[in-house]
């Protein structure tokens, strides 16, 4: 009970009738193919899956049209490329805020805590990559080491702060990591500077490193104490913990 299919004649050098049949079979037929307007005939074949958006977006160029058509195949989504969110916004990276926060760390004597109120991790990641880059320029490949140390030290500071502050301590880990990361800026600058300090100047390196460590400690402890409750009377104890953290990073830089 096999069905009989009309098998096309396998005749490549065949005449006009066989050739026409063969040509007809090669046309792609998608299952839900709406009738295509003839204007789309010049575009790439797979745009034919959704005619309406393709017709509207062909002026935007092939890539925009491709994104729109593939995203609207599900039926609904973004109508066109212009309505999509910018990539950085979608990722949550706000460069102007990162720049503002970084600039606030540059002044060690006046800490601007309002700008750090909503914490983000993209600035610290950027600073981490900068530190790794400068270490790479110095010949030390320490990407994993620095990342691991940042994570461990932010957990350490989180534990110490919340234990010291007691019942009303409300530092959360995201804020803690963000502050530790942003206060790495002096260490990044130290690693950039130490590329140019000659190797033999022993005490000079340590003095410069000590200055940067104190800067980072001051920034971090001031921010942590002003942003989370319960830390005011333990300022010295918390700043010693921060001092240990940044001395650790400085060891990586100067040795």
């Amino acid at each position: 009970m096999t069905k009989e299919f009309a098998v096309p004649p396998v005749d490549f050098a065949g005449g006009s009738t066989a050739g026409a049949n063969f040509q007809q079979r090669r046309v792609p037929t998608a299952p839900f193919q709406p009738p295509r307007p003839s204007s789309v005939s010049s575009s790439i074949p797979f745009m034919s899956f959704d005619a309406a958006s393709a017709a509207a977006s062909t002026p935007a160029g092939p890539f925009g049209g491709t994104i729109a058509s593939s995203s609207s195949f599900g039926g609904g989504g973004y109508a066109s490329f212009e309505d999509e969110e910018p990539l950085l916004d979608e990722l949550g990276i706000r460069p102007d805020q990162i720049w503002k926060k970084t600039r606030s760390i540059l002044n060690p004597f006046r800490i601007n805590k309002t700008v750090h109120k909503d914490s983000d991790l993209s600035g610290p990641i950027f600073l981490y990559l900068a530190l790794c880059l400068f270490q790479l320029l110095a010949g030390k490949i320490q990407f994993g080491v620095i990342l691991g140390w940042v994570v461990v030290s932010s957990i350490f500071l989180y534990i110490v702060f919340n234990m010291l502050a007691g019942r009303n301590g409300n530092l959360n880990l995201h804020t803690c990591t963000s502050l530790v990361g942003y206060s790495l800026l002096p260490v990044v600058m130290l690693s950039a500077v130490s590329l140019f300090v000659p190797q033999g100047a022993g005490p000079v390196r340590f003095v410069i490193a000590a200055a940067f460590v104190l800067w980072a400690t001051r920034a971090c402890s001031n921010l942590v104490v002003s942003l989370a409750d319960g830390g005011e009377e333990h300022r010295g104890l918390i700043s010693y913990a921060c001092f240990l953290i940044y001395t650790l990073f400085t060891l990586l830089v100067i040795f």
């Binding site: 320490q142 234990m163 009377e233 010295g236």
Partner: protein, 280 residues
């Protein structure tokens, strides 16, 4: 022996504040350390009050686990109630124990009908966990610094130093715990022992700092540190031991205390010898 007033039926039980042993009285052995409310006269009341779930929730095994956990890990918040002045004075005691003129016993106060120790802010003899934690961190950082000054620094070496410090801390805890166990029931809270063991890192930091500043001072500072740590531990463990011990066998106590003090020497010399391979 923690609870001089017997099992208290109606009291919620999960603070785990370390109980006193009044050093003057001979220890009265009590059935359970924290006056478990789920055994003893009032337990039936509680279980019937909870209805059908009483037996299921407070079955014997969970009771055991709960009382054991609260026995082993007393509330860590207690150990972090410190302030600047306490830290300064405690460091003076740990580093120069001969100069401490006061007494070495912890002050206890009645809290809710039971006796518990005052937190570290009010009592200079109470152990805390902030100083040991910071001293350990300082030891790791200073050891890294000293490695770097001899040109042997690498992040892996620092990780091995961290592991070495942890092993040293663990060995010290074991030493104190075993000496407690061999004499009495060893019921002091674990975090207390961890805190006492961690105080040795302060002296060690001083020795490593001396080594960095001037190499030969190390050979003076290490015996000094061992001596000071030994004296500190002996003076601190004496009231704890005499409170824990079931029988009064004072010569054995003294031998054990001397052993604890002498064991500091190899331990601290091993910890103070900072090199790339962590075993020696």
């Amino acid at each position: 022996m923690y609870n001089n007033m017997g099992p208290q039926p109606g009291m919620p039980m999960h603070q785990g504040i370390p109980q006193p042993g009044m050093p003057m009285h001979p220890a009265i052995p009590q059935p359970s350390p924290f006056g478990n409310p789920f055994s003893g006269p009032g337990s039936g009341l509680i279980r019937s009050g909870l209805g059908a779930y009483g037996e299921k929730i407070f079955g014997s095994s969970s009771e055991y686990v709960q009382s054991n956990i609260s026995r082993y890990f007393s509330d860590p918040q207690y150990y972090f109630q410190v302030n600047d002045q306490y830290v300064r004075n405690k460091l003076k005691i740990v580093l120069f124990p001969f100069l401490h003129r006061g007494h070495w016993t912890r002050i206890s106060e009645p809290v809710g009908g039971r006796l518990s120790y005052k937190p570290p802010i009010y009592d200079i003899n109470a152990p805390d966990l902030y100083i040991p934690l910071m001293a350990f961190g300082t030891y790791v950082v200073l050891a890294g610094l000293s490695l770097g000054l001899y040109g042997k620094f690498s992040p892996e070496a620092l990780n091995w130093l961290f592991v070495k410090g942890m092993v040293g801390w663990f060995l010290q805890v074991m030493l104190l715990k075993i000496s407690l166990l061999s004499l009495g029931s060893g019921e002091a809270p674990l975090l207390d022992i961890v805190a006492y063991a961690g105080y040795t890192f302060t002296g060690l930091c001083l020795a490593v700092l001396g080594k960095i500043i001037w190499g030969y001072s190390y050979y003076v500072l290490i015996p000094w540190t061992c001596l000071c740590t030994g004296v500190f531990l002996v003076k601190t463990m004496k009231p704890v031991l005499f409170a824990e011990a079931r029988s009064y066998d004072s010569s054995r106590h003294h031998y054990l205390l001397i052993f604890v003090a002498l064991a500091q020497f190899p331990l601290l010399i091993w910890l103070g010898n900072i090199s790339v391979n962590w075993l020696f």
